[in-house]
């Protein structure tokens, strides 16, 4: 720590002199404690960002978000014959030299164990594996020992015991180990998005070691020496609320070999961001932005932009996160003027959408640094399925048109009186809320009350059951496939957050959405794209949301840190980073 501070020192002449530094230790802060590092249960971004360096999947995403082999030998496709012509069977060949950090070799049995376990644990991302035949049986079986309640340890221990003993009720029938290095996967229906979902780092598709999990089913992931994966790094020390240390795995199986020997992470509180940044300037931290901490205080970024030393050390990276406003469309009980697909409801939704100047939002609230106006549909720019700049009619700003729609459908203003915009507090949501309030006031003459929720958890649970008439909504993509957006967010069968109740059978039935989606999900990406595009257009025609902005992440990286950075999804892997002498 002190040595880093001494050579960083805030001096303006720190340049990468070439050649590796003698100390290959990377030091940065994160803003949260781990919730869990068990791949079967992981959810938080801070956890997956770290754990992608500890666990591997059969495939992973490279820096440009392409799917590439990791533990598997190839990426299956119909071309290479690893996906059958009917699209129902996937054959996976495993590399034969893969080892866990404790030396145990990885075979097809480990894949079966890890994936069945992920489904049986019923974690938040288990639907990534839902394409496999027998998924729902194991999912149901996973409840067996947890029905009694109030005893997590018993529930977890017994489930693990049955998994380990090979109880057929806990084995997906579509998952078969043909030989020690071949896994044959039978799907319940053709699946265009499955390989992408199975590749998601630090998640349900990650491979874990049965031996270590069984030894301590509940807490194995939190202890150095017990947290075993196949990645290049492994946990070396963890002090809750304070620090995490990862060390390079000796004689790691993969290539190229990693350079960093140690990763020192300080666990900081979100309220300390400004001082974290100052500590980075003064050389205590090598970089800021890793581990899900990619939104910096705007004033700091503005200051760096006007500072000759730091200007080039700030990288802006579009993150795959879209924020929009959800209307209550499908929950008549909650009410509001936007319910249903009548001309009036649609017209009023359109009026509210057109009344918001999205470019002004990005320049005022984000200074065009931390976000960009969402003009190309729900899916963020740079991802598969992006609609193209200015393609979304809901992203337009037209105060005149908005006003005339309002006069047409709510001439005396009674429908749009007493509206509330609900959101969870924090930056930049407070600012966005104030901005929206101002826009509607200015362009429609409507006073919308603000309904802030300091408790994000309570806000989300209320939002998911359709309690708000207008609410802040958003999605950060998991894997680069349109299915991740359309399946999780909208439609009757939404696996994720169908906040608006759009296409909900209890509200206004919209069967075309569901059937188009089902068809698209079964196709390979080339055939599926036009169908997904159709869904985008349907959402746009129905005015299902108001697009607000795409998030942009900020990474501050000292020039001597080579290979660090991020794509729209995740940080670049630690094994790509090296510290140059400086």
């Amino acid at each position: 720590m002190l040595t880093v501070a001494a050579c960083g020192g805030g001096s303006s002449t720190s340049s990468s002199g070439g050649g590796l530094a003698s100390s290959q230790v990377l030091h940065f802060p994160v803003l949260q404690d781990p919730k869990t590092w068990d791949p079967g249960l992981m959810d938080a971004e801070v956890d997956t960002e770290l754990m992608q360096n500890v666990y591997d999947n059969l495939w992973r995403f490279d820096d440009k978000l392409n799917t590439i082999p990791d533990i598997a030998v190839d990426v299956p496709s119909t071309t290479n014959g690893e996906i059958s012509a009917d699209g129902m069977t996937v054959t996976v060949k495993l590399k034969q030299n893969v080892k866990f950090s404790n030396g145990d070799p990885v075979t097809s049995k480990d894949v079966l164990y890890s994936w069945n376990r992920s489904v049986a644990l019923r974690g938040p991302y288990r639907s990534n594996l839902s394409g496999i035949a027998g998924f729902s049986d194991v999912q149901t079986a996973g409840k067996t020992f947890c029905a009694k309640g109030a005893d997590v340890t018993a529930c977890r221990t017994q489930t693990e015991a049955h998994l380990a003993s090979g109880d057929p009720k806990f084995m997906m029938k579509g998952l078969v180990a043909t030989d020690p290095y071949t896994v044959t996967i039978t799907l319940s229906s053709p699946c265009g998005w499955c390989i992408a979902a199975w590749s998601l780092q630090g998640s349900t598709g990650s491979i874990v070691d049965e031996k270590v999990v069984m030894a301590d089913p509940v807490n194995w992931w939190s202890k150095p020496g017990e947290q075993i994966g196949t990645g290049a790094y492994t946990l070396s020390a963890y002090t809750p609320k304070q620090s995490i240390v990862f060390k390079q795995v000796p004689n790691w199986w993969g290539s190229p070999k990693p350079t960093l020997t140690e990763i020192d992470i300080d666990i900081k509180d979100p309220s300390t961001q400004t001082t974290n940044d100052a500590a980075w300037e003064q050389g205590s931290y090598d970089l800021i932005g890793y581990g899900g901490d990619s939104t910096q205080p705007q004033a700091d970024i503005l200051r760096y932009q006007s500072n000759s030393t730091f200007k080039d050390q700030v990288t802006l990276v579009p993150k795959g996160r879209t924020t929009w406003l959800s209307f209550n469309i499908g929950y008549p009980a909650t009410g509001g003027p936007f319910v249903g697909e009548s001309a009036a409801a649609k017209g009023l939704r359109m009026a509210f959408a057109l009344a918001v100047d999205k470019s002004a939002l990005a320049s005022t609230v984000c200074h065009n640094l931390t976000c960009a106006p969402a003009t190309g549909g729900l899916i963020t720019k740079g991802l598969i399925g992006y609609g193209g700049d200015n393609s979304d009619p809901l992203a337009k700003f037209d105060a005149t048109q908005a006003k005339s729609l309002l006069h047409q459908f709510d001439p005396n203003g009674s429908l749009t009186a007493n509206l509330k915009y609900s959101y969870n507090t924090g930056a930049p949501n407070d600012a966005v809320a104030s901005f929206l309030q101002g826009q509607w006031q200015q362009n429609l003459g409507i006073n919308v009350a603000l309904d802030p929720h300091p408790d994000a958890s309570a806000f989300i649970s209320d939002r998911l059951v359709g309690k708000f008439v207008m609410s802040r909504d958003g999605w950060q993509f998991d894997y680069n496939h349109p299915q991740d957006w359309f399946d999780n967010l909208w439609g009757s069968l939404a696996a994720g957050a169908n906040t608006s109740g759009y296409a909900d059978p209890t509200g206004d039935p919209n069967p075309t959405y569901d059937s188009t989606l089902a068809k698209a999900d079964g196709e390979a990406i080339d055939q599926a794209l036009p169908l997904y595009k159709q869904l985008s257009q349907q959402l746009e025609t129905d005015v299902a949301y108001i697009p607000l902005y795409y998030s942009v992440g900020q990474f501050m990286i000292h020039p001597y840190v080579k290979g660090a950075g991020s794509n729209a999804q995740a940080d670049f892997y630690w094994d790509e980073i090296s510290i140059q002498s400086h």
């Binding site: 004033a299 104030s434 603000l450 300091p454």
Partner: protein, 302 residues
């Protein structure tokens, strides 16, 4: 000291009201003494101005306090925007003016709640004594045993972030001093001859409490209430600073200071003005309270 379990607290001990004398001369004397105290007088003038600003801000501010885009974001003070602008391009002076409302409401509103609750509880405990007093004293002592700001935090999260809820939450943490003060006063006043006489002539308890005892304890009660105002404003600012103040976009000083802290390295005016306003206002209330106490209780004066 062996009778009741009492935690020592920093209430100033009052003797005002123990000497029977005409109410009118008490007030007149007090006012005369207050006017001679230059610091207190300055404080009174400042506070009067503050009230004026709060009232004016309901009808007029240089710009609309919540209007985004009144000027460039983070703009430093200029003739058009005397106190500069905040991170959303809102005029800081206008927001500072509007924030006066919140601070004054929080301070005065809390003092009123505490006044009502504390006086009622204190009168009851002191007048009825016995079991009633024992139970009330136990409750008071339990409240003294818990960390105040933490209670306020839990209550605000539980009740929600409205102005009234915040006042209730703050009141719950500071009502005990008032209750204890009134209880003590009541215990001593109820033994006086004229109270005895009223009781003997068959007056109802309510009449005795509010007709005889309360007016005689009024001096110290008012002084105590004055000291509650700055404590309430400060606690309110703490809550706002932690993100649990009045809901946005309403401007309040603690919240503005908190926003300014995030930009502290870029511009300092955003954090400076609300911090200054808060400090000077608290100072004024404290000077005023001191002056008031000296005025109503000359024996404390040195």
């Amino acid at each position: 000291m062996a009778t009741t379990v009492v935690t020592p607290v920093p209430t100033t001990e009052y003797s005002g009201g123990t000497i029977a004398r005409e109410q009118v001369s008490l007030w007149r004397d007090g006012w005369r003494r207050l006017r001679r105290n230059k610091l207190a007088l300055a404080a009174v003038i400042y506070l009067a101005l503050l009230v004026l600003v709060a009232i004016v801000s309901f009808f007029w501010t240089p710009y609309k306090p919540n209007f985004i885009g009144a000027c460039d974001t983070y703009q430093t003070p200029s003739p058009a925007h005397l106190f500069g602008c905040d991170e959303l391009g809102r005029d800081s002076l206008s927001r500072l003016m509007a924030g006066t409302q919140v601070s004054l409401f929080e301070g005065v509103g809390t003092a009123l709640i505490v006044l009502v609750v504390g006086v009622t509880v204190g009168l009851i405990a002191g007048y009825f004594r016995g079991v009633v007093d024992a139970i009330i004293s136990l409750i008071i002592n339990i409240f003294y045993g818990i960390p105040t700001l933490l209670v306020a935090l839990v209550l605000v999260v539980l009740l929600g972030q409205g102005l009234v809820n915040i006042m209730v939450a703050i009141s719950a943490t500071i009502w005990m001093d008032m209750a204890r003060l009134v209880r003590g006063q009541t215990l001593s006043i109820r033994e006086r001859e004229y109270v005895e006489a009223a009781r003997a002539s068959g007056a109802k308890s309510g009449k005795i409490l509010f007709g005889h005892i309360f007016p005689n304890a009024l001096g110290p009660i008012i002084v105590q209430a004055t000291f509650i105002i700055p404590v309430a404003i400060l606690t309110g600012a703490f809550l706002s600073f932690l993100g649990l103040g009045v809901p946005p976009p309403q401007a309040d000083w603690g919240g503005m200071a908190s926003e300014g802290t995030a930009a502290i390295r870029y511009v300092t005016h955003i954090v400076m003005f609300p911090s200054l306003a808060l400090s000077v206002t608290l100072l004024a209330f404290n000077f005023f309270g001191d002056g008031l106490r000296d005025a109503f209780d000359p024996r404390q004066r040195r």
